[in-house]
């Protein structure tokens, strides 16, 4: 299998090996089972594979941590997707495809807590005590853009941040919007998305790309596949299937 671009360039001939996290979270991958194609990233992965000439049965899944994804040795995947933000620093050691999803940051609080009444303005939010999952884009966003007055706290993963807000150790959490919606709806008791940051003005666009080994020969093929998926509306369709609409989450006023 494979089209003229990808054939012969994959890890295993005639098969495409795709990596995601362990575990993989909804709404990106449902039930930690990417093989089902359910969940935004699982669906995108199969769509990209399809365009590259690999039908679903030619796709293998592996699991990697972030660390394994960026380690300097030979990779055990063709591409890896687990909400990797495309950042210039990262490009030094790995390659990214063009973005397959662009999102923004959002603030999650507990409904009924003191913080849930905060005005959706930058100046009001700065007074809250923030937490975030380390290693996501939330940390640089907090540190460089929002700059809250109190020191932020960082955690290993979403589950830990949720526990921390449950223990009232933090007032608010910053996630990418889809994760925020999911966490608020499912993981956090009485969670609520307080607001999302504006996408425009280059304040917080978070572009997710497929991660590949440095100098991967597959990059042009992957880029072409994503381009065509975007062009014919497939990506938008997948998004509307798996990601809840961000309606109802007010946009935070950064000027106040």
């Amino acid at each position: 299998a494979g089209n003229e671009c990808s054939a012969g360039n994959t890890l295993k001939s005639d098969r495409l090996t795709i990596a995601t996290g362990n575990p993989a979270y909804p709404p990106w991958v449902m039930n930690d089972a990417p093989e089902s194609g359910e969940g935004y990233e699982a669906a995108v992965a199969y769509a990209v594979a399809q365009r590259m000439g690999y039908p679903a049965e030619s796709v293998d899944w592996v699991r990697t941590s972030f660390d394994e994804a960026i380690q300097p040795g030979a990779k055990n995947f063709d591409f890896n997707l687990q909400q990797y933000s495309i950042k210039p620093e990262r490009l030094e050691v790995v390659d990214f495809s063009i973005p397959y999803y662009t999102t923004t940051m959002a603030v999650v609080v507990r409904d009924g807590s003191a913080a849930s009444g905060t005005d959706v303005t930058a100046s009001a939010l700065k007074k809250l005590k923030f937490g975030a999952a380390a290693g996501t884009s939330s940390q640089p966003f907090l540190a460089d853009v929002l700059q809250p007055e109190q020191d932020m706290l960082l955690y290993d993963d979403n589950a830990d941040v949720v526990a921390a807000i449950g223990a009232n150790q933090i007032d608010a959490i910053v996630f990418d919007l889809p994760s925020a919606l999911f966490v608020a709806a499912v993981q956090l008791d009485g969670g609520k998305v307080l607001g999302q940051f504006p996408v425009e003005n280059n304040v917080s666009p978070d572009n997710f790309g497929l991660l590949m080994g440095k100098g991967s020969a597959l990059k042009p093929c992957v880029d072409a596949a994503i381009e065509s998926l975007a062009a014919d509306g497939t990506l938008a369709e997948i998004e509307s299937t798996w990601l809840s609409q961000a309606t109802g989450a007010p946009v935070i006023d950064m000027s106040k």
Binding site: N22, P23, Y25, D32, T64, S65, D67, E68, Q71, P72, G73, A74, D156, D157, N158, A159, V162, A163, G166, A167, Q187, D189
Partner: protein, 271 residues
């Protein structure tokens, strides 16, 4: 047989102790049992940490993952013992010609105790395979184990060294005076005594190692704690860690009790 005054007194004391102990234990347990659930957040905490359905669901997979720990532990421990022994012996040489070995030993323990294990695991687990090794020689099991062994042997070497130093020099004089070589007197005379003295300290490290096998998970292998971590992330619930703790305790507690028992028996028999 009738008891002497002292025996009666001691029995009374012991009974009193047991009575006080039991009472206070019961009080504390009762306090925890009745008071903690009154805390406003108890239900949430219980749901997060002591969630029976989640425990039942995850436990079998945790047990599976524990096999990985057992495996890594089983091959790391002998390597650690051998390497730490070598380092301890290096640090213990007295021969002026062997100064470099002493320096090397001091360096080794300083560096490998001082470097955060996680860096070592990354550096060796990712770095060395990254130099261009191909499968199976780039296995994270191999290089992760190497990192673990390097770290632990530095700690254990210090324990062994102080054991060796604590065996009185007259023992080594006696051994060498019989014409035994340095190696033989170390092997047959000094080490058996040194190791015996350091059993409690070594047990500390055996237990810690059992848990630090988890460090290998940074470079891939999914062992018990990593599996618990995956479940935690997935279910946003810490109960799987409680499951992991149960498994660990089932192994380490009998092991330490047994080691203590052996030591006590040895002390009773000898001297």
């Amino acid at each position: 047989m009738s008891l002497t005054a002292r025996q009666r007194f001691e029995r009374r004391e012991r009974l009193r102790g047991i009575a006080i102990g039991t009472t206070s234990l019961v009080l504390v347990v009762a306090a925890i049992y009745w008071l903690v659930p009154l805390a406003p957040g108890w239900e949430a905490v219980q749901r997060s940490f002591f969630n029976w359905p989640i425990l039942v669901k995850t436990f079998p997979k945790l047990l599976d993952a524990f096999l990985v720990d057992v495996m890594i532990f089983a091959w790391s421990l002998p390597l650690i013992l051998v390497l730490s022994l070598a380092i301890a012996l290096c640090r213990n040489t007295r021969n002026p010609a062997l100064l470099p070995l002493r320096v090397f030993g001091a360096f080794y323990t300083d560096i490998f105790r001082g470097i955060p294990t996680i860096l070592l695991v990354y550096l060796i687990g990712f770095g060395i395979p990254g130099l261009g090794l191909s499968r199976p020689w780039n296995s994270p099991y191999i290089w992760g184990t190497v990192a673990l062994v390097l770290t632990y042997s530095a700690y254990v070497a210090e324990v062994l060294r102080s054991g060796i130093e604590s065996v009185h020099s007259s023992q080594s004089a006696a051994a060498r005076s019989l014409g035994l070589s340095e190696a033989d007197s170390m092997r047959y005379v000094i080490l058996p005594q040194a190791i015996r003295r350091q059993v409690p300290a070594m047990m500390n490290f055996v237990i810690a190692l059992q848990k630090d096998v988890a460090l290998l998970s940074f470079v891939g292998p999914i062992e018990l704690l990593r599996q618990a971590n995956v479940f935690k992330s997935l279910m946003a619930n810490f109960t799987p860690y409680v499951g992991a703790a149960i498994i660990f305790l089932c192994v380490t507690v009998p092991a330490t009790r047994y080691a203590d028992y052996l030591l006590a028996r040895q002390r009773a028999v000898r001297s």
